[in-house]
Symmetry: C2
DNA sequence: GTCTATACCCTGATAGAC
DNA sequence: GTCTATCAGGGTATAGAC
């Protein structure tokens, strides 16, 4: 349970990066939060960018998609609405994980400035999720559970509100405003979406 | 057509803010791009923040919602799908306006760091658009043009893909990748969404 | 309105004692 | 591994000559 200095540095850095972005968070501030001098920090990392790279390579996969590691899509897609609920839930849960949430904030700040982060977003986040969702929708269509359409289009239409609501929740949290309402947006989205695409409509 | 120095400063600042964010763009760089010394810049603006405030108050309304100024919603909502197409088009057109696009990029960078920008996003962008859309959907429901549901929910579900696709288009443009595909996403979204909510389904 | 000169702080990073 | 000391460079901002 003891944190090494290196871990403390990474934690402090993530904290500050999520608040002020890469440029806004200085090496001095990071060292100050850890409780050491700036120079001592260079015993653990080559330079500031080295800290960033370590954070990114550690968190980019785990903080952006829990989902891919789950059981085979072929099986779970057959569950229909339940699959969507599980997908959205694991998506929503990322907001409650401290490091994931901070990494998400950092990613949003850097998206338009940093090509590396942009690539991670487009590949780890977007591409990965769309692949899973479109595959699941394809199976559901084959089984006649949902209406026939373009699976990839449907995947985008399902994913984008999830992203939007997560972003909104993160923004409201920053101002300490009620994020309780945002939580129900996920559920309402699933209900609405499922009503629209499901074959039976009683 | 002659640009005053003040206008040149604002243009240069917006350029740099959109690329590097507020902190990342230095007064020196702004002055350099205009072709004057830093000190000369202080004849036109009190300080760096003054430049930002001028940009924000000039562009926040015009660059985020063209729509509110259009004709009465009661009338246009009756047009059904055509209304949605017009709404999405004016939304998409903002991406092609240089200043709007740059302001959008700047806004995305600052969203998680700057409360002022966050408020503008939530009020000018989100609230305003949702008000218009929910009102329009409400009217369409009353007229029996679309299925009955929660108008505000439907507004959110319609708006969030628009936002997501605009963001995606902006990201791809930054790496000079094909944003031609993203353009059709808007149209596909409208078709998909309308198919789902319209009362008649031939 | 623009210039030079300058003030002062913060930045990332290194050298060398302990 | 951490410290003190130090560095060059860049940051915002002001004073005063032209």
């Amino acid at each position: 349970m003891q944190k090494t200095t290196k871990e403390k540095i990474l934690d402090a850095a993530l904290n500050l990066f999520a608040q002020k972005g890469y440029k806004g968070a200085s090496v001095r501030m990071i060292a100050r939060e850890v409780g050491i001098r700036e120079s001592a920090l260079y015993n653990h990392f080559k330079n500031k960018e080295d800290i960033l790279d370590t954070i990114v390579s550690t968190l980019s996969s785990s903080s952006l998609s829990l989902i891919s590691s789950s059981s085979s899509i072929e099986q779970s897609a057959l569950k229909g609405k339940k699959f969507l609920r599980e997908f959205a839930t694991s998506f929503k849960l990322l907001s409650y994980d401290d490091k994931s949430e901070k990494f998400f904030r950092f990613m949003m700040i850097e998206l338009m400035q940093n090509k590396k982060i942009r690539d991670i977003f487009l590949n780890y986040f977007l591409k990965e999720h769309l692949k899973i969702l479109s595959k699941a929708f394809f199976i559901m269509m084959q089984e006649g559970i949902i209406l026939s359409s373009d699976p990839m289009l449907m995947a985008r239409e399902f994913l984008s509100p999830l992203f939007f609501y997560r972003m909104q929740a993160t923004l409201l949290k920053l101002d300490n405003e009620s994020s309780s309402n945002t939580s129900t947006l996920f559920e309402k989205h699933i209900d609405f979406f499922w009503d629209m695409i499901s074959s039976s409509s009683p």
